[in-house]
Amino acid sequence: MTRRKSGHTHPLIFFMSIIQSLLRTWRKHPLWNWLGLLPFFVFILFFLIIPSLNLFSGAFLNRSGELTLENMAVFRNSNVIKAYISSLQVSFMTAAIGSIFGFFVAYAVTIGNGPRWMRNVIMTFSGLAANFGGVPLAFAFIATLGRTGFITAILKSICFPGSEGVEVCPFNPYDYGFSLYSLTGLVLAYTYFQFPLMVLTITPALEGLKKEWKEASANLGASNWQYWRDVAFPVLTPSILGATLLLFGNAFGAYATAQALTGGSIPLVTIFIGQQIRGDVLGNPHEGYALALGMVVIMAATIVAYTALQRYASRWIRR
């Protein structure tokens, strides 16, 4: 401890003056401004961060509250593996179908020069359908492709006069292994919101393809096919991959449609977690937390990769 030379200053006053000057510089410091965001951060902390961390920490604790990795044994449970596989299957299929279909639709309304009214209808309905899901979507597909749905009815009514005068009605899809209340049906229903999301995400990229690139490649003697293979497609690849990842994540976290369509009989991870919340089907709540953590890890990886790809793709879109 060193005493100040100017002996008449009381240490306490000196101390206060230091605090005051610190506060003054702190007030001028840019970090002070972050305080304005405090209400937002507190709200997020209490109602998003703490509940999430509380869940994830549960994955690493045992029943008596000790740190452990034994809950990861849940990923060796055959029902859990089955749930993850069907979730990944549905997400992968709908992402692939949605992005291919959506790409062609976006192509049709942008560079494809589809009629103007068609562009308006498709862009409007993509904005609507991409945000549409949940229980009503399941009802819509049951009314359309369910056992008594109207497309099923139309297919059933296509009959041919067969041999010996018996009518043959070969098109009842339910006689041929099709069922709406299965993974196939789920893929069909999810596609309803997946491909419009693709249209919305990929349209800016397609509009970012410059006419000059096409003209330049034509000047160099490239055919339309060569232009697509060597110029347009490589430029679009990050956008397409990114959008596909987005669709993947979108399907992976979906719950309501699957629950309403199949009454929970399809083994998806989200459905499984729902059952775990209701009745601890795993017999160990901490394994349930590990199950949920696994989902978030996959989602986080997907969204991080999506963001990276979008950033990479944006070099070409920026005008």
């Binding site: 109207f150 719950y255 977690i273 775990q276």
Partner: protein
């Protein structure tokens, strides 16, 4: 010649998309009108509209939606405003936070809420009122990505700094700047955020279902398990509600598509 061929493809994909949009709509509408054998009738709709549980769910979800919108506006408008004016450095952090509800699926989020708030010391799910508060807070979080982006886009289109300085030089305090200058300039952005918020809450199933409150989502799910024609009618009602909200956004924002991911 070549151009014509491309146009043919465009029309092919366009029609396929339009068919995918409209066939399920048509199927649902058709199904909802066929409750009486052999005739077109509105009986399924009558049954729903005379079901007190429908009105209970409708009232609950509407009220929850309106409160959610109010809280969202009160939180996100000042936050985004402050971020633009004073701490542009905070943008990456805030952006990551607002994406979080996409990364954490709804079912996982409600799992976390239940683990945190349905046991001591913060046991709030015992009492309907505190559960309702928790649900509304959950709705604010779930619709945060939409609300934040809507407000963000709106704030980007106005000159926050000049407006603030002009208002302050005329003697406004912070509250007046926000209420009389920033908020009116953001009304379209806020309205579109509010409508998508409303559509989200009206269709939401997971929170209300697992926290066991009488919202529209659980009612729909229950109806789907027990009835045949009424769900189709309810789907049409829900379509009309949602699509009216979302369509209104597209109308007021002049075709600027609501390019967002949804939490389902």
């Amino acid at each position: 010649m070549k151009a014509k061929r491309i146009n043919g493809w465009a029309i092919f994909w366009g029609f396929l998309a339009i068919a995918y949009f409209f066939l399920p709509m048509y199927g649902t509408l058709d199904f909802s009108l066929r409750m009486k054998r052999g005739v077109i009738s509105l009986q399924a709709y009558q049954i729903i509209f005379s079901d007190p549980r429908f009105w209970e769910g409708f009232r609950y979800s509407t009220l929850a939606g309106l409160i959610t919108i109010t809280i969202s506006v009160l939180i996100f408008v000042p936050t985004v405003y402050w971020m633009y004016l004073k701490v542009p450095n905070a943008r990456p952090v805030v952006e990551v936070i607002t994406i979080l509800p996409f990364i954490i699926p709804g079912i996982v989020y409600v799992f976390g809420l239940i683990r945190t708030f349905s046991r001591p010391p913060l046991q709030v799910t015992l009492n309907p009122l505190t559960t309702d508060i928790l649900i509304v807070v959950g709705y604010v979080i779930i619709s945060m990505p939409y609300m934040f982006r809507a407000v963000d886009v709106g704030m980007r289109s106005i000159d926050v700094r000049t407006l603030t300085e002009a208002a302050q030089s005329l003697g406004s305090n912070w509250l007046q700047v926000l209420a009389y200058v920033i908020l009116p300039n953001l009304r379209i952005a806020i309205l579109s955020g509010a409508l998508i918020c409303f559509a989200t809450v009206m269709g939401e199933l997971i929170l209300a279902s697992f926290l066991v409150r009488p919202a529209l989502g659980p009612y729909m799910q229950l109806l789907g398990l027990t009835k045949a024609y009424e769900p189709a009618a309810l789907a049409i009602i829900s379509y009309t509600l949602t699509w009216f909200s979302l369509g209104l956004i597209q109308f007021i924002s002049r075709g600027g598509a609501t390019q967002q991911v949804t939490g389902r």
